[in-house]
Symmetry: C3
Subunit: 293 residues, 3 copies
Amino acid sequence: MSLYRSVTDFRVEDVDWILDRAARIKAGEPSAQLPPRAVVGLAFLESSLRTRTGFAAAAIRLGATPVEVLGVRESAVSMPESVDDTLRTLAGYCDAVVARVGEHLVLPAGVQVPLVSGGDRGLVAEHPTQALIDLFALTRLAVPVGDQVVALCGDLRMRAARSLLLLLEAYQPRRLVLVTEPGLHEGLTVPEGLATLCEERTLGDIGDVDALYVVGIPHGALDEDGRTRLRVTSAHLDSLPPRARVYSPLPVIDEMERDALHHPRVRMFEQSDDGLYVRMATLELVLGLGAPA
Amino acid sequence: MSLYRSVTDFRVEDVDWILDRAARIKAGEPSAQLPPRAVVGLAFLESSLRTRTGFAAAAIRLGATPVEVLGVRESAVSMPESVDDTLRTLAGYCDAVVARVGEHLVLPAGVQVPLVSGGDRGLVAEHPTQALIDLFALTRLAVPVGDQVVALCGDLRMRAARSLLLLLEAYQPRRLVLVTEPGLHEGLTVPEGLATLCEERTLGDIGDVDALYVVGIPHGALDEDGRTRLRVTSAHLDSLPPRARVYSPLPVIDEMERDALHHPRVRMFEQSDDGLYVRMATLELVLGLGAPA
Amino acid sequence: MSLYRSVTDFRVEDVDWILDRAARIKAGEPSAQLPPRAVVGLAFLESSLRTRTGFAAAAIRLGATPVEVLGVRESAVSMPESVDDTLRTLAGYCDAVVARVGEHLVLPAGVQVPLVSGGDRGLVAEHPTQALIDLFALTRLAVPVGDQVVALCGDLRMRAARSLLLLLEAYQPRRLVLVTEPGLHEGLTVPEGLATLCEERTLGDIGDVDALYVVGIPHGALDEDGRTRLRVTSAHLDSLPPRARVYSPLPVIDEMERDALHHPRVRMFEQSDDGLYVRMATLELVLGLGAPA
């Protein structure tokens, strides 16, 4: 199995290993060393900041060097090359490939190295490594995930949210609070294992929340009234318990008021920074470096 | 001599060395180590997938790190910088440069490091490293190149085909079969040393061919009837001898029927993968690492 | 202090150290070794050739690997991410960041690593590392900077010129000659410490100049008559003393006549090449590797 498109392509023991390993790397434990002169391919046919540069840095910290493809080959004299052929070609030069291809990610025939999604598109779009980073953030709180009230605010159909919900199904927080709008969860099925833990609320009712996860709302997905109802303000953050932390896969454009971004509960950039360790651990795992059998 | 624009800028003994060296690297022999912290410049002012990422990976496998320039410097306040100045500047920071500049490649004044073409344009456009990869593929067949019937199908004016024909002139296959259309070889002169080996045929008459090389046909170079006559199908591939192999510099857009791509005779992606070793050997040669004096 | 936006963000002893260190590296002295697997972020949201590839190569020569961001994250479903968040995110993965962001560079909250300008914009736009390279070029002349007549020709408001004038204020050449046009220094205040050294002249009167620095003139900043008056010709260069050298931050588009570019006094590409050593020394300094306390 060398495709990691969904977060469910990681076994629960893999996820446990990644979380533990990321914490150890963050604490200063030496990371594995990739085979000398290893190459990690980064096929980002769609724009990406965090995932692309985060995996580039993770590869480098492991002793490898990234090679990027930021668009399909096009020229005046030929049609664009297919995504499959692009990935297959790049994979032939690399020890692993991380890809965001702008469509549902599949493993092209002949790819022999691990292929990790950097976020895909389609009806069951996911962003598995972002969700691993988000879950890692939850594990950094004082109380264990199983005792946390976790709130997700925004468009629950976004790929990072879908992956996180699948992870939370396995990790079972005490309660799952959804802050959203009609239309932002059309077609979304909350994973079965979360059904009994789950309730909808407004931002006015988050006083018991341990972790508020600001999902993001795509441009144009909601009218301004709806955006306003879901916009996180300093007052909302003040209503959280002191132990609470606010996370986001970023970027945050207008999903939070600008002055709320610097509220003492907000840990979005620490979460982003820790993404480096999670991506290092993920690369170690998919490359079979010390990961569970 | 530090410009490698044409495949004839490599001496025959250089080509022999590259082919032999690539085979050894593929077989697991350690590659040379570039000077510590070496830099290989990749100036690809035109889109490239295989050549750019292949040389990036080759540089890394040799212990170097690539630095890319993917367009000339432009800004709101200045005219585009010249190709010559772009190459000269980059070369000043690098141990070697591979370049695809969208025009006939020349060695700019002051460039002190090897400059290797990644495919150029113009009346005598070539793609020397692609042709080395193609010749390497031929050497992987069971019979030596000198005993092979080699067929080229498509637009023989394409730069990779021009370079390959020049190499085949030196390596003299048993027979050279050209499958093409009027208009796709206008202005093309088959190298003199191939004249007596050379004959034109259709795809219906390739039953004795050892290696079928699908050149590619530029978008718009041929009407649909012509494209259809040159489109390789599974039936054509079935008509080849069992020992035969099908190669291509890729990408293949519509030059082969989609289901023919997975025919057991097709080795295009293996050829692409082996390009890594040929590019490593080429970098070793131009940098004087163990190559013939 | 971890922002280096202006050349004045480097103390004079820092500049001295960089110049001396660059000369030693050029002479073959081993450079410092960055922490193993170090990452240098290159956020070039505007086009750059020399500064971007020069810092990439400098990082590699020091044992680090660059990670590039060449535009802000954009997608069909979200607004562009802010420059601040882009820099903050990248900085979280890196040991140092060099940035050209297309606006006045500020240190975003939370950035913990050195942030070096690769040229910014605005009313006090600067290009500090280019000016360090330019000053290094002056120190390569036979006579010390303090005994030189230095001439700047072109648009003195350009960011590299502003930074160089600030450096020259500290290094006090014997005389500063300005060759410019009304309109090309509107709003420019020559630094106070240069006032008594400074005089305006034409290109016809540079017979005592030791170093002629061709600043460049933005496209559209001047009518053709003005451009002609400031265009450096071979005749102008012949009028310089034999010891004189001609420098430029490059690119030179039409600020010099094409045949003047190869005049024996011209050292623009040597200056560009030496930029590698200055950038290596600059990275060493901002990372605290052996630099003055």
